[in-house]
Point group: C2
Amino acid sequence: MNIGDVAERSGLPAKTIRYYEDIGLVKPLRSANGYRSFRNGDVHKLAFLGRARALGFSIEDCRNLLKLYEDDHRTSAEVKQIAEEHLGRIDRKIAELTEMRATLAHLVDACAGDHRPDCPILADLATTQEEIARANKSG
Amino acid sequence: MNIGDVAERSGLPAKTIRYYEDIGLVKPLRSANGYRSFRNGDVHKLAFLGRARALGFSIEDCRNLLKLYEDDHRTSAEVKQIAEEHLGRIDRKIAELTEMRATLAHLVDACAGDHRPDCPILADLATTQEEIARANKSG
DNA sequence: CCTTGACCTTCCAGTAAGTGGAACCCCTAT
DNA sequence: ATAGGGGTTCCACTTACTGGAAGGTCAAGG
């Protein structure tokens, strides 16, 4: 199968598939004319990668997951560990974003958004840590 | 003031400060010996940048916010628009991560995490869109 | 006077995961 | 013969830094 068909079936852009070959995630054969020739197993692998990437796994995680997937002697504990670590990273990221969101929403709420220059958003950004520390100490 | 002091006061690594000069966010003077010489205004600007970055604003957003900050004829509407767009991006990112998290948590939960090879996580990743479509059609 | 150590300088390379584009080859249909 | 729609390689660019090498500057101590 040529790369265009594989792209359609796997849902990945042809560019991405070439990139995945570059970094050794898939190893398609080559036809006489130099075109990549993908077997069903390659397409399956690429779909696997697409799904793992959609769940936010890093390429390195994907590489390891793929290795486990193809290893009959794997243990589910190994897979679960990768997934749990990733879950932890997601949770930390969500927490970080949620905190940003809260601060930002508060500031946006306080901003009139009119023609005047006064702006609590800029006022907050201009507040240095020193000033915050001073305010905390005195308040 | 030398870069080390500025780094300490602004909370930004010296490397980052040099990078910010590189991309034109700050323009410190130079001493006779070639060292960067920061004025109070530069330190203030860097603290502003650090705070904006901590809220997740992109460098380009920071550039624009800084411009508005220094523009007496700004309107708070301009600032608010940047902040609202950023808030939207944060919300979309949180939604994306939350969805990933739900799927992943479900899979992790279903995985025994023992010595056996059977693993619902891998099974899910190996599920192609075709198979999902087929399952949806038949189910 | 020399050295040591903590500063500072520039420049180059690498990170994650692709994406865009140029220049060029291949195959089929008209 | 040529037009189109594939495919190929290679290089550059993206974000926001970070690490490291090679070397200049300065104050203190022996």
